[in-house]
């Protein structure tokens, strides 16, 4: 059996935000989350942000420190930085656009279930918007020892919907 263990998949369809819940537990300390083929219902591209969910089902909206780089072929690499922010940062789950332009992300998440440690993460991904490729790479920490059990992504502009895609969560087994 592979050390990377599939936990859960969440389909995305016609919603401004998506939560994938009850995926972080005492079974694992390190998790891999992937988002693939995620598109919106609008050709006006929009940033998608990421947050964490605690064991009471509350989406955490504060105490994130984050540093991201945004790479675009038509412009210089830019920085997206934040301390004590309300999410892992603007576009921390890339930027959505109308199909066939989509986004894909991979996240690694450390210690989410622990109540003696903050939750750490790093991510990278790519997408296309307005006909151009785009890359985003970032790191961050939720400065809270609350028990984290889920993951949440949302459109920055709630007038636009996430139309399609998948979220998958895997746990990294350590024996």
């Amino acid at each position: 059996m592979s050390a990377l263990r599939f936990i859960k998949e969440q389909e995305i369809s016609g919603t401004t935000s998506v939560s994938i819940t009850d995926v972080f537990s005492s079974d694992f300390d390190v998790y891999c989350l992937t988002g693939t083929n995620i598109s919106s219902n609008s050709s006006s591209h929009d940033n998608v942000q990421a947050r964490l969910i605690d064991e009471s089902g509350t989406i955490k909206t504060s105490s994130y420190d984050t540093a991201q780089q945004d790479g675009a072929p038509e412009a210089a690499i830019s920085a997206i930085l934040g301390t004590n922010a309300s999410s892992f940062g603007l576009g921390s789950f890339m930027t959505s656009d109308l199909e066939p332009e989509s986004l894909a992300m991979t996240w690694w998440i450390f210690n989410p279930y622990s109540t003696s440690s903050y939750t750490y993460a790093y991510w990278q991904g790519g997408g296309t918007l307005a006909g151009l490729g785009r890359m985003r790479k970032g790191v961050g920490v939720l400065k809270s020892t609350d028990r984290i059990t889920g993951f949440h992504i949302y459109q920055n502009n709630t007038a636009r919907l996430l139309n399609s895609g998948h979220l998958r969560v895997y746990g990294l087994s350590i024996n």
Partner: protein
């Protein structure tokens, strides 16, 4: 033939303070499992919740026959991700790769990361590795050097070693996998 699996090779969780942790490295390995990097697969190293007894630099080395190589043959370059701004490092001829500056568990200043190892088993090749991290450093900042290193000695490496510039590693889990 590739099987499409990630296989655990070695693991060690620090329960009492130690000066260093070795994954693989045969009989020198911290786990006592007497395993080594001994195939031509890509290997993956994961570490998390790493703390030290004092503020210290957190270092990474390759092992040769189970011993951490301290020769001045580590060339590495990385981008530092930090909410205070980005930085860049380019180092040649170092005696280790300096991953981060970490501290006590009570300060929530810890190291977490993943490294991929290439060509370690090949005696005719240099050992390469990349690293990605998400840490909180001794200044309490979210901090993450992301980059890669080459050990500029043409010989096989049989493991990896984690250590500090001073003090002991008090917490942390370190695991070695191979992709088959």
């Amino acid at each position: 033939m590739a099987l499409g699996k990630l296989i655990q090779v070695d693991t060690y969780t620090v329960s009492t303070p130690v000066g260093s942790v070795i994954l693989g490295g045969g009989s020198s390995g911290s786990s006592g499992l007497n395993v080594s990097i001994d195939t031509n697969d890509v290997y993956m190293v994961v570490w998390y919740n790493v703390h030290s007894s004092v503020d210290a630099e957190f270092w990474f080395r390759v092992t040769k026959s189970g011993t951490g190589d301290t020769s001045a043959n580590y060339d590495y370059a990385d981008k530092l991700f930090n909410p205070a701004g980005f930085g860049r490092r380019g180092v040649t001829g170092d005696t280790k790769t300096h991953l981060e500056n970490i501290s006590l568990q009570s300060n929530q200043e810890q190291g977490n990361g993943i490294s991929y190892l290439y060509n370690f088993n090949d005696a005719n090749e240099l050992s390469y590795y990349t690293y990605e991290q998400s840490n909180r450093n001794i200044s309490g900042q979210s901090s993450a050097p992301v980059g890669g290193c080459v050990h500029t000695v043409r010989s096989a490496s049989d493991g990896v070693l984690f250590t500090l510039s001073t003090g002991n590693i008090t917490h942390g889990t370190f695991t070695l996998y191979k992709q088959v």
